[in-house]
């Protein structure tokens, strides 16, 4: 009986393990997969990210040079980032903040003059 007592008393005589977020925050882990962002200047609108995304939340318009992502659909898996040929797509270590209204990440870059080899429409 009362076998929990030592644990409880240990807790009682130690500082609580609560991290007083938001007063007290912790540096995110370097590997953490957080919010997506695209260095749009470097993006070539190749649509690889859009194709590889398991959640199909990226829309790339090569002609208009727009890159958009629905952060409400994205599962922050990082597949797009891993597959981006230009390594322009990144994930911050911090998560995306909650919001009260729907939103879409929309980015517009410059239309690249030189088209990439291969047909982006394929597969």
């Amino acid at each position: 009986m009362f076998d929990m007592t030592p644990n409880i008393l240990r807790n009682f005589f130690h500082k609580s393990s609560t991290r007083l977020y938001p007063k007290e925050t912790r540096q995110a882990f370097g590997n953490a997969r957080g919010e997506l962002y695209n260095e749009i200047e470097a993006c070539i609108f190749c649509r690889t990210c859009a194709r590889k995304c398991p959640s199909q939340c990226i829309t790339v318009d090569t002609k208009e040079a727009t890159w958009q992502c629905d952060p409400f659909v994205c599962v922050y898996c990082g597949v797009c980032v891993e597959n981006c040929p230009k390594k322009c797509l990144h994930q911050k270590n911090d998560y995306r903040k909650p919001v009260t209204d729907k939103e879409i990440i929309f980015m517009k870059g410059e239309t690249k003059k030189k088209k990439c080899e291969g047909d982006p429409q394929e597969t």
């Binding site: 076998d3 929990m4 409880i8 393990s17 882990f29 898996c77």
Partner: protein, 358 residues
């Protein structure tokens, strides 16, 4: 005798997940129970029609958030078998490491929820407090607390450098120490025993007949663990299934408790034996043919049936999760018990509805 008919769930405090039980009680003794499912059914096996077989990894991870890594591992293992891919040794060991870390996480989570089911709030808190260290390991190594997402077809995505491995081991040491503090509580405490011993007895024969798996099966004294097949690197690591005897909630509790410690030991061993080399091989081609592949997940045997047709979309992906197999045994345990023991017994199979219904 006055009958009481109550809906237990879909939204119910003691079940983190929606499941519905129609309970017929007399004097708070369960006379009849009929389950209703479908509250978390998404139909994700069908997503294979619209996602290619690589993308399905992320979907499989989300069959269930508690053992996401292991789902992905099982899936990748199946595809690799179909395509005849030999993954590098290092990848095999890394898979074991992450899988066992996941097991620790899952078992601690369960120990907490189990404690909660019999109203031991501080024990719940304690288990989950310990578990946070594992969550940190997940995030630090895999990038996410819940879905580390490290498996890919042909190996693993991320490596674990020696520093990282060392850090993981020290964290696990801390976890082990704290878990050991709980041993007496979980296995000896009067009130815990009162609530678990002799509750929901599943005999060895019944367990086999009803197709129980995992700790539910082992709690009834059957020494069966899919890891014995030796998939991934398990063949090269020392482990023996933990078994209980009585087949009651207490026995299952004990099995999971000991498995937590066993998993930590396995991680240690795997890290110490971690071979050098690549972590993945390149994958060419498309899967074709059918395969049944199994791994041992925290809740028991997980089985994937995969049928490919040589295209990028699979013909059929079928996932048989451990809880799916443990529901019939559960139904046999419920009649005749007290209402207060319903959550305890339901929790004692460590139910995961999200993967049951997919």
């Amino acid at each position: 005798m006055a009958r009481t008919i109550i809906p237990f769930g879909p939204q119910h405090q003691v079940f983190p997940e929606p499941i519905h039980l129609k309970l017929v009680l007399e004097d708070e003794i369960v006379k009849e129970v009929v389950p209703a499912l479908g509250y978390v059914h998404r139909g994700l096996e069908m997503l294979a029609d619209v996602r290619d077989f690589h993308q399905m990894i992320q979907i499989c991870e989300r069959v269930c958030g508690i053992c996401s890594t292991i789902h992905a591992q099982c899936y990748c293992q199946g595809i690799e078998e179909l395509m005849g891919i030999e993954i590098p040794d290092r990848a095999r060991f890394l898979r074991v490491i992450w899988a066992e870390i996941h097991r620790v996480q899952s078992h601690l989570l369960w120990l907490g929820l189990f404690a909660d089911a019999f109203g031991f709030e501080s024990l719940f808190m304690q288990c989950w407090k310990i578990r946070e260290k594992i969550m940190d390991i997940n995030e630090a190594t895999g990038g996410n607390r819940v879905n580390p997402s490290i498996n890919i077809i042909g190996g693993v995505k991320r490596d674990m450098n020696p520093d990282m491995a060392q850090w993981v081991l020290t964290q696990l040491d801390l976890v082990e120490k704290e878990v050991n503090h709980l041993e007496k509580v979980l296995l000896n405490d009067y009130t815990v025993k009162k609530r678990t011993v002799g509750k929901g007895v599943l005999t060895r024969e019944k367990a086999m007949e009803l197709g129980a798996v995992g700790p539910t099966l082992r709690g009834s004294g059957v020494e069966q663990d899919i890891r014995q097949i030796g998939y991934a690197a398990y063949g090269e690591l020392a482990h023996r299934p933990v078994v209980g005897i009585d087949g009651d909630a207490y026995s299952r509790n004990r099995v999971r408790f000991l498995e937590t410690l066993q998993a930590i030991a396995l991680v240690r061993e795997a890290v110490s034996k971690l071979p050098a080399g690549d972590i993945s091989v390149k994958v060419k081609g498309k899967p074709e043919g059918e395969v049944v592949t199994r791994v041992e997940q925290p809740r028991g045997e997980l089985m994937y049936y995969i049928k490919g047709n040589g295209g990028k979309n699979l013909d059929r992906l079928r996932i048989r999760t451990p809880t799916f197999a443990n529901i019939p045994p559960l139904l046999s345990m419920l009649p005749g018990i007290e209402l207060a023991d319903v959550p305890v017994i339901v929790l004692s199979i460590d139910p995961c509805i999200s993967c049951t219904e997919r």
